[in-house]
């Protein structure tokens, strides 16, 4: 193990885990003095090409409050066939199947390289994945057409046995029955009235005649498919039907008078979708995919009235408490989101409109259920089309990159407690000995539910060191954390992934340099940022900034070296050197700054920030800027206005946008058409290079970033200019700057 950097990287690759501190301060007091909390970013389903799942059940600690999974850190008595739980120290018998183990014949879970291991277990029947399209019909003709095509196309991308359903809405909500032949049949609901799940099921005729359903495991009773099949049908059976149905889909026929918004019943539509699945397929992998082209304008969850003269709430309105529908709507969607999450389903929101669509209010639907949130200008853009297509992307092994109904169980050794998690999850309210009273993020539990996740979904998990200062940990002691993720694989298998990690304890007073050196500033930046964003969501913006500043100051105070009253003497060690820079850009990021962003945009940005892995998160905090010039190979340059030079092409990736910016000279050359001249082929190549790189990024990114190609003085150049550090501005000449 050469350096901490390598160690960190290796850990990340193997376990999908990055801790802010890789050597842990051994007492509560010292830990709090470290400023940055002990926390980690966990990517539960991190893609592991080299990790073949094992086909048996994990072995659990027999202590009911522990139930940790047998792992390489456990002490094993091969003779007695006993193992000691490394969390609770309970001694457990191996199950009979393990009778043959010995030091040379170890099961995989005991091998150190399997600190992360995946089990495939047989539990209950396998229910196919479910995709329920909830489609807004209050769209412009072109948009609707494009959306219809996308939806039709998506049918071919779905797993063949997946069940699909269709709900359309406008002024009314229609639940389409897909099984019937001849007359197409749909159930229609008023868009202004919220209905309970029971009402919805009654009205859809889903009230089943007392078929016993074991909780969490729908039985494959013969009736069930019959009941559900009216609205949810296997794709392969009805794709023709559904294609026709989508083809015949008309714009909402109710007249919209001038000066009015169309009446859009998004709230009820979602409610019905949730109720439908709740009644038919509880605790099964299911996606409710909401496609909306505007704000909900009526009924529960309405965000704005139908009068066009009343604009949709802005941050300004919200601050002034002028957003009259916001609280109610938010509450509606939160209730829905919680119900959905409780049933293990997820809600995706695909909102394409030039104006806001109410993502602020609806965000929890995606946030709490792990659904996607996509924001675009129109359904008729490649941004939407490709993003949507990418939802159905398959991984390297031909499996869909989506998993459902996961629950994450975190177990810690005694010196640690769990403070909370931040990410697309909800609490399962599992109290236990390892749950801290202090909450950071979603706390008070050691288990969370992640209704939908993909290999990049990343949670931030915060810990608290509870070891008292006066009870030192013996030298060489290690703290351990185990993450147990149970989920439904896209193949509908039930799987359990177990990751067990351990870190050394260190006395902060005597071994501070060790701790310092083991600081992961990138992870720390993201973890702090998540905390900040989490707070921003619930608190006032400026307070968050102040809090961030204070944390930074305290950190510098703790780990910086300086002479009092001498700014130039300030030094930070290498492992901290980038951290202030991250904080600087974070302060300016749209995650914390709402200026110039609509509430919807803020919600959108924050949504993605709270679920992306470390690399992507860092890009979001501090966009990457590459420079292309004749002076050398492409190089990353400082995100600073000084990097903008006439003879450079800049490629900026902010995660949400990809901006290619041609410097002044380059732009002139291009206008002059040099790239078309054979003798200036190198110029052509220079122009092409950033395009290729951008394409590469576009290929993998979800959601598709907005792709902007601009040049010096172009109006779109603002996207770049707003991000760079304004070290040079037209004000510099005068008196600006400190």
């Amino acid at each position: 193990m050469a350096t901490y950097l390598e160690f960190i990287q290796q850990n990340e690759e193997r376990d999908g885990v990055r801790f802010s501190w890789n050597v842990w301060p051994s007492s509560r007091l010292e830990a709090t003095r470290m400023v940055v909390p002990l926390a980690c970013l966990l990517t539960p389903l991190k893609e592991r090409l080299d990790l073949p799942p094992v086909q048996y059940e994990p072995v659990l600690c027999s202590r009911p409050t522990c139930k940790a999974v047998l792992n390489p850190l456990c002490q094993v008595d091969y003779r007695a066939k006993l193992w000691a739980c490394n969390f609770c120290f309970q001694r457990n018998q191996f199950p009979p199947a393990y009778a043959g183990i010995s030091e040379v014949n170890q099961p995989a879970e005991l091998m150190p390289q399997f600190s992360t291991i995946e089990y495939i277990v047989q539990r209950g029947p396998q229910t196919p994945l479910i995709f329920l399209y909830v489609v807004d019909t209050c769209l412009e003709e072109e948009d609707l057409q494009a959306l219809k095509e996308s939806l039709q196309m998506s049918l071919s991308l779905l797993p063949a046995d997946a069940l699909v359903g269709l709900i359309t809405f406008g002024r009314m909500v229609q639940v389409h029955e897909l099984s019937c032949e001849g007359i197409s049949k749909s159930y229609v609901f008023r868009g202004t009235k919220d209905l309970t799940a029971k009402q919805i099921q009654d009205m859809l005729g889903l009230s089943r005649p007392a078929v016993p359903i074991q909780q969490g495991r729908p039985l494959q009773t013969p009736e069930q498919p019959v009941i559900s099949s009216r609205f949810l049908q296997p794709v392969h059976k009805i794709d023709m039907n559904l294609t026709d149905l989508l083809g015949e889909l008309q714009r909402d026929p109710w007249p919209v008078t001038q000066g009015k918004r169309p009446l859009r019943s998004t709230g009820v539509a979602l409610s019905i979708a949730v109720g439908l699945l709740e009644g038919t397929f509880p605790n099964t992998g299911a996606r409710i995919m909401l496609f909306t082209g505007g704000p909900p304008t009526q009924g529960p969850g309405m965000v704005v009235g139908d009068e066009l003269k009343t604009p949709i709430r802005s941050w300004h309105d919200i601050e002034k408490d002028n957003a009259r529908f916001m609280k109610k709507a938010t509450k509606h969607y939160e209730t829905l989101a919680n119900r959905t999450a409780a049933n293990g389903h997820c809600i995706d929101i695909y909102a394409c409109a030039l104006d806001q669509t109410g993502l602020l209010e609806m965000k929890c639907c995606a946030n709490l259920t792990g659904g996607h949130m996509v924001m675009g200008d129109s359904f008729n853009t490649s941004l939407f089309k490709q993003t949507f297509q990418r939802v159905f992307n398959k991984g390297f092994n031909g499996e869909f990159r989506m998993a459902f109904g996961a629950s994450l169980d975190v177990k810690t050794s005694r010196e640690l407690k769990i403070a909370g998690a931040i990410g697309p999850c909800i609490s399962l309210n599992a109290k236990g000995p390892c749950v801290s009273e202090n909450e950071l993020g979603i706390g008070g539990t050691s288990q969370w539910k992640i209704c939908s996740l993909d290999p990049s979904t990343t949670l931030a998990i915060y810990f608290e060191v509870v070891n008292q200062h006066n009870a030192p940990i013996p030298q060489g002691g290690r703290g351990a954390v185990q993450f147990v993720t149970q989920y439904q694989h896209s193949s509908t298998q039930k799987r359990i992934r177990v990751t067990t990690i351990a870190r050394n304890w260190a006395d902060a007073q005597s071994q501070l340099q060790h701790i310092e050196a083991a600081f992961d500033q990138e992870a720390a930046a993201v973890l702090m940022a998540r905390l900040g964003v989490y707070r921003a969501e619930s608190e006032e913006g400026p307070d968050v900034l102040r809090w961030l500043d204070r944390q930074l100051i305290r950190l510098c105070q703790k780990f910086g070296q300086y002479n009092k009253d001498d700014p130039n003497s300030f030094r930070l060690s290498e492992s901290f050197s980038l951290y202030p820079q991250f904080m600087f850009h974070l302060r300016r990021s749209p995650f914390l700054q709402v200026f110039n962003n609509s509430p919807d945009e803020s919600s959108y940005y924050r949504h993605h920030f709270a679920r992306q892995d470390l690399t992507q998160s860092l890009i979001m905090i501090q966009p990457i800027l590459y420079a292309y010039s004749f002076h050398g190979p492409p190089e990353p340059v400082l995100l600073d206005s000084s990097s903008i030079l006439p003879d450079r092409i800049l490629l900026m990736d902010t995660f949400f946008q990809i901006v290619i910016y041609l410097g002044e000279t380059i732009a002139q050359w291009q206008k002059a058409g040099y790239q078309d001249m054979p003798e200036y082929e190198n110029f052509k190549h220079l122009l092409q290079a950033p395009l290729d790189d951008a394409q590469e990024i576009l290929q993998t990114r979800f959601p598709m970033p907005r792709y902007i190609h601009t040049e010096h003085g172009g109006s779109q150049a603002r996207f770049l200019l707003s991000k760079v550090n304004p070290s040079q501005t037209h004000n510099n000449l005068y008196a600006w700057g400190q």
């Binding site: 197409s184 049949k185 749909s186």
Partner: protein, 1157 residues
């Protein structure tokens, strides 16, 4: 009155006429004894009193006048003198009617008649019956009967025919008289009823029997009078007018009959028959002979009461009376003289008898129930002879023959139109056709006091969109341009023929409120020398009683011209409906029916759009947009909060979406073939339709096909609350009230949108028509009910109803206002509509069969000069979406004399009003209260007449105004109807259903509904297209060897007697014997023989006349179904406790007497 006048004028008699007129008026006014005649009579009276005194029946005394008139007069004044006498007598006696005529010989007879009447004979009945029947026979019989007198009598009979002709009139009078007397005689059977005359010869016998022997009657009659209802008087009165004429011929006699001024009214009626019929009758006379035989009995009939007395009377009278009675009726003159003495005698005797009867009355009446029980009505001898009481059949026949031939020209104010049962052509010359408006009286009392005194309700039955026969022209459409119809500035009355143009045509004075309004420049026209506008005949609104205005946008909802209306078909697809094949049937039918939606005049296709909904516990809407390859179904399960799930494609043009609709209708039965859903909703269905119309911003009509009580969880959910125990309790009214006010509110919303609801019900059990029908009722819709619907038997009826209902002319979103000239005011409205204020009748839909009855009350005095005017303005949207105003104007006379009022009444209309009033009453009061109130009101009406208009006569006489002589029989029918007196087999739903049906009925419908038409099929002439002559609704008139048809607008019964010839059965039913006739038949088999064809054509003809397809029921005599059939023999005592006609008449008489004393 006018009739009378005509009659008078008609008669050449200078003297008589003047006298007449003078008399009449005074007579009416001062019923006391008119001038001279009176005195004469007076003298008579003297004697009479004597009689009376001896005679117990004091009731008679009143009739004293008669006697006086009778013998003395007649004696004194021969023919010539008679006339005056008559007149005098007429007036004086008016009440007594007959007596005066008797002045001469006739007078006595008349008196006799009267007296007889007094006895309680219902003369009215007789007259009618007598008229037709008697005419012929009478004449002949008479001839034979009494040589001299008889002859004269005969002549009189003949006179009957032509009312104008003095002779006829006489005859009429005679008829009337006889009727009075004869009615009792029930001679009806023998038109001979006149039998009296005929009886003359046999007279003695017959008369005696009748007790009404003309003269004898007097005496005797007096006796009986008390008992007998002396309707005769009124009847007799009618004759009076004719009397003058009669005087000529048989002054004496005629007068006698004619005298009753009241009868005048009748006279006309009776005349006509006489006129037309009389002669022919005479022809038929021959048959009469046979009748003559009957005649005798006939005489009895006259004296309703007589029956009892007759017996006794018969004994004694016969001898003495024979001559007289005959004379009395027919050839009163001769007999009169002799009679007098006899009279006394008779009277005495009769009195005694009379008394007898009276007691009977008392006994019988006291307990209404007793009625029936009392006298076995059947036993002719003991009871009133049914033939002697006023016969509806006779009245109808008379009117038909008198007024059916001439067109009814509406130019004259206050004309009484022919009866609804008469076919006639109307020529609009300034007043609305009676097809649009009929009034209870065409002569309105000038003051409210008078109106109150008479108790005659002032009401108009208005059918604004009535269908006209092809030979009459539809109302013209008038367009007054952008400024809209010209109206009075103050009361907003529309321009009409009664507006007075003044100042050279620059202004007009409103005929309703007298306000002067400027004529708009574009409407200005010069006046001619008579003050008429020059363009009088070019403008319908100036020369016609009915016309239409094109409404401007100001008359439209929201100031927007309406869109064409829509029809929405809403089909119950619950298990019952599907299983019975109903759903398939409806769908099949709709496929073709949608091509026959109503269209405006010359339009090529209907502007009406259609939509489809099916439902059970949830609703299914269908998108049938023409661009779709397949219809789309949209299910709305949120029945708690109904809405329409689609806009575009729900209501479509039939031609554009034909294939999609056809495909839909093909698939609906399949889709629900396996349904197991038995519960239904109802209110949400209406709400859905309402919302659909709202969304489409148009008016329209919902056709709902529903099968069961809506018990599914939804608004308007109902529970089964049927409870037979409530019948005859104070809570009975709740059965007619809706269970919940929800439907009332819904109805209100429907009306606001112009959403009319037609309901087709197919219940297998109670489904609470009272509640389900609320919306239908208040939106002006129709309910059709097919209990225990069976595809095989009921489908034709249902489909015919459906076709008719869909195709018929209908207006939407209608508001009707009735304006009246100052002095009266429309105060109450009956019918299927909604009122949000006190003046505007709002109907979401109004079809050509819907009728509104409007009651008027005085709020000031009216003047005889200006009369009273009605203007009914109906604002509606036509089936093409055009907004229009239909205006009907009617002018009525006003009177200061009650007699005028009674002479211009129309009983059918009156019954229409009374029935509707009573049927509404059951909502708020116990049924018994309603019945009593009804009886009481009619008793008051008749008592008032008796007191103020009829000539003084014995209180024992029942005297009915000619125009109202059918009031008792019809009233009894109303009282016995299922609503007011249900039999055990009548369900609560039936009662509610009928209650609502009747409320929208027009006069013709109520007439036949309450007094069904009974036709002897075996008497039908196979070669002509005419219907056989109807007979009275009584079992005793059915012959075991005949086949009868009875129709009441809802059902047609074919009753087969046990002894019917096999050949007839074979011809009609295609089976060889009586026992093989299946009573499951719902149609008559189509057989190729003339009898079958004839009967089927009769059935078809009847079906066409009615707004609903009637259910055909085959009833075999002595079969269990016969009970049902007998229920409709309304003159008989009913199983549910309803009184027989005879009993009821007695009861009425008692009531009247109580009021008078």
């Amino acid at each position: 009155m006018s009739v009378n006048q005509q009659a008078h004028t008609g008669p050449p008699y200078g003297q008589p006429q003047p006298g007449y007129q003078g008399y009449q008026q005074p007579a009416y006014g001062g019923q006391p004894l008119p001038g001279v005649p009176q005195s004469q009579y007076g003298a008579y009276n003297g004697p009479m009193p004597g009689y009376q005194q001896p005679v117990p029946p004091q009731g008679y005394f009143p009739s004293l006048g008669f006697p006086s008139k009778g013998s003395p007069v007649s004696l004194n004044s021969d023919t010539s003198s008679l006339a005056p006498n008559f007149i005098g007598s007429l007036r004086a006696p008016p009440t007594s009617g007959a007596p005066p005529p008797a002045s001469g010989a006739s007078l006595p007879s008349g008196h006799l008649a009267y007296s007889q009447f007094g006895h309680g004979d219902v003369q009215n009945g007789i007259p009618t019956s007598a008229a037709p029947m008697q005419r012929p026979p009478a004449s002949q019989p008479f001839l034979p009967g009494s040589a001299p007198t008889p002859v004269s009598q005969t002549s009189t009979f003949q006179q009957y025919g032509p009312p104008p002709a003095s002779v006829q009139q006489l005859s009429n009078h005679m008829a009337g008289m006889t009727i009075g007397s004869t009615t009792a005689s029930a001679p009806p059977p023998a038109g001979l009823g006149y039998g009296p005359p005929t009886s003359v010869p046999p007279v003695s016998g017959s008369f005696s029997t009748t007790g009404s022997g003309l003269y004898t009657p007097y005496t005797a009659s007096q006796g009986p009078p008390p008992t007998s209802v002396s309707q005769g008087l009124p009847l007799a009165q009618p004759p009076f007018p004719g009397q003058p004429i009669s005087t000529q011929r048989l002054p004496t006699q005629v007068p006698g009959f004619a005298p009753p001024p009241s009868s005048t009214g009748i006279g006309p009626s009776s005349y006509p028959p006489t006129t037309g019929a009389p002669r022919p009758p005479t022809m038929s006379g021959p048959p009469l002979p046979g009748q003559t035989a009957a005649g005798p009995p006939a005489s009895q009939p006259n004296h309703v009461s007589s029956p009892p007395p007759p017996a006794t009377m018969a004994g004694p009278h016969p001898g003495p009376h024979p001559g007289p009675p005959m004379s009395g009726l027919h050839g009163p003159p001769p007999p009169t003289h002799p009679p007098q003495p006899g009279y006394q005698m008779q009277q005495n005797g009769s009195f005694g008898q009379v008394r007898g009867p009276q007691p009977n009355y008392g006994g019988a009446y006291p307990g209404t129930p007793n009625y029936g029980s009392q006298p076995g009505p059947p036993p002719p001898p003991k009871r009133l002879d049914p033939d002697s009481i006023p016969s509806p059949i006779q009245v109808i026949e008379d009117d038909r023959s008198n007024r059916g031939s001439e067109p009814f020209v509406t130019g004259v104010r206050g004309q009484v139109p022919p009866l609804v049962t008469t076919n006639f052509v109307v020529k609009d010359q300034g007043n609305a056709s009676p097809r649009y408006i009929r009034c209870t009286s065409y002569n309105i009392p000038c003051t409210s006091d008078m109106a109150k005194q008479s108790q005659v309700p002032l009401a108009a039955v208005i059918k604004p969109l009535a269908t006209l026969p092809p030979e009459e022209t539809l109302p013209y459409l008038v367009d007054h341009g952008e400024s809209g119809p010209v109206r009075c500035n103050r009361c907003k009355a529309y321009m009409c023929p009664f507006m007075q143009f003044i100042e050279g045509g620059r202004r007009f004075q409103c005929c309703f409120c007298s306000c002067v309004t400027e004529v708009p420049p574009h409407y200005f026209q010069h006046l001619d020398h008579t003050g008429k506008r020059v363009d009088f005949y070019d403008r319908p609104e100036l020369s016609l009683g009915s016309y239409e205005f094109l409404a401007t946008v100001d008359y439209c909802k929201n100031n927007k011209f309406p869109s064409p209306p829509a029809f929405i078909f809403m089909i119950d697809v619950s298990y019952n409906a599907v299983k019975s094949g109903l759903v398939r049937l409806i769908c099949e039918e709709l496929k073709s029916l949608i091509d026959f939606l109503p269209r405006e005049g010359n339009m090529e296709e209907s502007a009406i759009r259609v939509g489809f909904v099916t439902y059970n516990k949830v609703l299914h809407f269908y998108n049938v947009k023409s661009s779709l390859a397949q219809p789309q179904m949209m299910v709305v399960s949120d029945v708690a909060d109904m809405f329409v799930p689609l806009l575009d494609g729900f209501l479509v043009n039939v031609n554009e979406s034909r294939t999609v609709i056809a495909s839909l209708l093909d698939q609906i039965p399949e889709m629900f073939a396996d349904t197991r859903e038995t519960e239904t909703v109802f209110a949400p269905v209406i709400q859905a339709g309402l919302e659909a119309l709202k969304a489409a911003e148009c008016a329209g009509k919902l056709f709902i096909f529903h099968t069961s009580l809506p018990i599914a969880e939804a608004p308007g959910k109902l529970k089964n609350r049927d409870d037979k125990k409530l019948i005859n309790t104070d809570k009975e009214k709740t059965l007619f009230q809706p269970q919940t006010s929800f439907y009332n509110n819904l109805a209100k919303d429907c009306v606001a949108q112009g959403c009319c609801v037609d309901l087709f019900l197919f219940p297998n059990q109670y489904l609470d028509v009272a509640t389900l029908g609320v919306v239908t009722y208040q939106t002006g819709g129709s309910i059709y009910k097919y209990a225990y619907f069976q595809l095989e038997t009921d489908q034709d009826r249902f489909l015919n109803d459906l076709r008719r209902d869909v195709q018929k002319e209908v207006g939407f979103d209608a508001v009707m206002r009735v304006r009246t000239s100052t002095g009266i005011r429309a105060t109450d409205f009956f019918g299927a509509f909604y009122m949000s204020n006190t003046t505007d009748v709002e109907m979401a839909g109004l079809d050509c069969d819907k009728t509104i009855t409007v009651e008027f009350k005085h709020d000031d005095k009216l003047s005889e000069d200006s009369g009273a005017l009605l203007q009914c303005a109906l604002l509606y949207t036509s089936c093409a979406g055009q907004r229009r105003l239909r205006i009907h104007n009617l002018s009525l006379n006003c009177c200061t004399q009650l007699a005028d009022l009674y002479r211009n009444c129309e009983t059918d209309t009156l019954i229409n009003y009374l029935a509707k009033h009573a049927y509404r009453g059951v909502l708020g009061s116990p049924v018994k209260t309603v019945r009593d109130a009804l009886i009481n009101q009619c008793a008051q009406i008749l008592a008032c007449y008796r007191k103020n208009c009829a000539s003084p006569s014995s209180a024992g006489q029942l005297i009915l105004p000619e125009c109202m002589k059918l009031l008792p029989v019809y009233l009894n029918c109303v009282l016995k109807s299922d609503v007011l007196q249900p039999g055990p087999e009548v369900t609560t739903d039936d009662r509610a259903y009928i209650r609502q049906l009747v409320t929208s009925m027009d006069v013709a419908e109520t007439n036949v509904f309450f007094y069904p038409r009974l036709l002897p099929l075996t008497k039908a002439e196979v070669d002509s297209d005419s219907l056989p002559a109807a007979i009275r609704n009584s079992e005793e008139r059915l012959s075991k060897s005949d086949i009868y048809l009875l129709e009441n607008g809802l059902n047609i019964f074919v009753w087969v007697g046990v002894n019917v010839q096999q050949s007839l059965i074979q011809n009609l039913f295609g089976v060889s014997s009586f026992s093989q006739i299946s009573n499951a038949l719902s149609t008559l088999p189509v057989l190729e023989n003339s009898f079958s064809k004839k009967v089927r054509s009769i059935v078809d003809m009847l079906q066409v006349q009615r707004s609903r397809n009637m259910k055909l029921i085959i009833v075999k005599q002595e079969d269990k179904l016969e009970m049902l059939f007998k229920h409709f023999l309304v003159e008989d005592k009913s199983l549910s406790g309803g009184a027989s006609y005879v009993d009821f008449l007695c009861h009425m008489h008692k009531e009247i007497r109580q009021l008078l004393s």
